[in-house]
């Protein structure tokens, strides 16, 4: 079977975010980039399926040149080959146009059985692109998966999914898209030999220009700002502006045992009378 894993490069979770000079993007100077944490689960799940059932795992990444590093991380974890879609206008491309691009590439591949992706891109704070890909391909989806069982003979996948207030189990026929939740597996680390090998694995670079647009069944209207449905006007860094009223002990910062009762009463009063919240 053939599995495509959609991977996204995101700033490190520890990264400090600042606006760039144009004010509608982030300052990438000195930023550390990682494989989106939820995509690690998708890559791991694909590799696990490959190890138990046998499968070809294709890593599909979209983004500028720097995204190659993330794609290589996924290859080092066990992906067989990779596709890197580069769109020069990527920065102006919204989720709708991004999904169209990814979907058209997967459609051109023809015989994909399963598409895996993380449930959310932590930079965009959204999981909409993989779902839009499923819609473009007219295939079923199971999102926020905590368990995936593939039945290759029946060409189905059984997925345990998180829903509001519980879980449910879905059975999807191939081809299908599944997005992964934390807890589904323990992603392996890319080993040093894995990283060395990743550099030699087949990599197809697709630069989106007028020539190969036709192959993808797209026109320039599908790309960049023209293909997008919204644009980002501004990025602001919220200033933490809180009252910092920390109740301390009489003798030190720490409230001592004998003072706890009075402090508890004081906080309750503040929450009730000043903050009017309880």
């Amino acid at each position: 079977m053939k599995i495509v894993v959609i991977v996204r490069q995101t700033p490190d979770t520890e990264a400090k975010i600042a606006a760039n000079s144009s004010g509608n993007g982030i300052d990438e100077n000195g930023l550390k980039w990682i494989l989106n944490p939820f995509d690690e689960f998708a890559v791991e799940e694909a590799v696990k399926i490959k190890e138990s059932n046998g499968a070809e795992v294709i890593v599909l990444g979209i983004g500028p040149d720097r995204a190659l590093e993330t794609i290589r991380t996924a290859l080092a974890m066990g992906g067989d080959s990779a596709i890197h879609i580069k769109d020069e206008n990527f920065g102006n491309t919204d989720s709708y146009a991004t999904a169209k691009l990814i979907a058209s590439k997967i459609k051109a591949m023809g015989d994909v059985d399963l598409i895996l992706a993380g449930k959310k891109w932590i930079d965009e704070e959204s999981g909409q692109v993989p779902i839009q890909v499923a819609a473009e391909l007219d295939i079923p989806q199971a999102t926020i998966a905590t368990k995936v069982d593939v039945d290759e003979g029946a060409k189905t996948v059984k997925v345990q999914s998180e829903i509001e207030g519980g879980q449910r189990i879905l059975e999807l026929s191939f081809p299908a898209l599944v997005t992964t939740e934390r807890g589904i597996n323990e992603p392996r680390y890319a080993s040093l030999p894995g990283i060395m090998k990743a550099k030699k694995k087949p990599l197809e670079e697709v630069t989106v220009d007028s020539v190969n647009l036709e192959e993808l069944g797209l026109t320039s209207e599908n790309l960049g700002i023209e293909g997008s449905r919204y644009k980002v006007d501004s990025i602001d860094i919220p200033v933490i502006n809180r009252s910092l009223n920390v109740l301390k002990g009489g003798n030190s910062d720490m409230v001592e045992s004998g003072e706890v009762q009075a402090v508890a009463e004081n906080l309750t009063k503040l929450l009730r009378e000043e903050a009017k919240i309880i």
């Binding site: 079923p140 026929s173 980002v232 903050a275």
Partner: protein
Amino acid sequence: MSEIWVLVDTTADGSIRNVTYEVLTAAVKLKEKNSGTVAAVFLGESAGAIESDLGKYGADKVYKIENPGLKEFNPSAYASALSESIKKHSPDIVLGGNTLQNQDFLPRVSALTSGGLVLDAVDLDISASSTLAIKRYRYSGKSISGMTFHDVKPMIATVRPNTFKPNESSGAGEVVQEAVEIPAQDNVKILETKLVPKDRPELTEADKIVSGGRGVASTENFQLIFDIADSIGAGAGASRAAVDSGYVPYEMQVGQTGKVVAPNLYIAVGISGSVQHYAGMGSSKVIVAINKDPDAPIFQKCDYGICGDLFEVLPALTEEFKKLS
């Protein structure tokens, strides 16, 4: 402006979720700026008499898209049904709460209708070019982005729960029955649905939340968190450190790789207050920190705090909270 649609979010037992009224309030505000009609849109097997409640919060119309194929939530079927109605009535704007269900099927609606979609808005306005302008958090709560839609229809957005305070405003609640054809769903089977009875409000919608961190130190000790949460009807959450230590399950995790919450009151107990945790709860209205380390970063990000031993502070505070009711 033609119509502004608001999706009716219901719980498993069919009652209308509060977030529906919050989004209706936001829709009424948009209507006041730009005229038009606010319509509530129900998708499901059978709506029941929901129109008077929806009318009370400003719904001029109530579309009832009722179909046996919508009995259980299936994103493909829901997307197909809503898209068909959107194509028929061409609303300018479609809004819903940022619930898991809406996050699951609205991306498909945007693809099927060639509409735009922005999730988890914390502010909605009409732009200079008469399209929808939205503010939302990006980069894990570390930035707020202003975004505007191009000239597209429909402009679809979900709204973060607890962002708008529901405001009563009279709407006629005129019922419009919508018949839709739902294509056969042969490629999806729902084998089993397990709803876990919840003793406490769901984190993403809770008005108050108490979360425990590494400082709580064990699964047994989390009872202290549950006790104080129950004393004020709050949801119970946890930091990543507490989840990774195995004290409580992942569903309780608040933060960058957990749930994003925005209650009126967030009490962080034994939580140091990492950037990643703040990313998940930084838009809470009032933050209270209880920690024994005076240098914990959370004390630089809170409204109120107690620097003390949580095992002494929590029981005393729980007793005080109980006296309030």
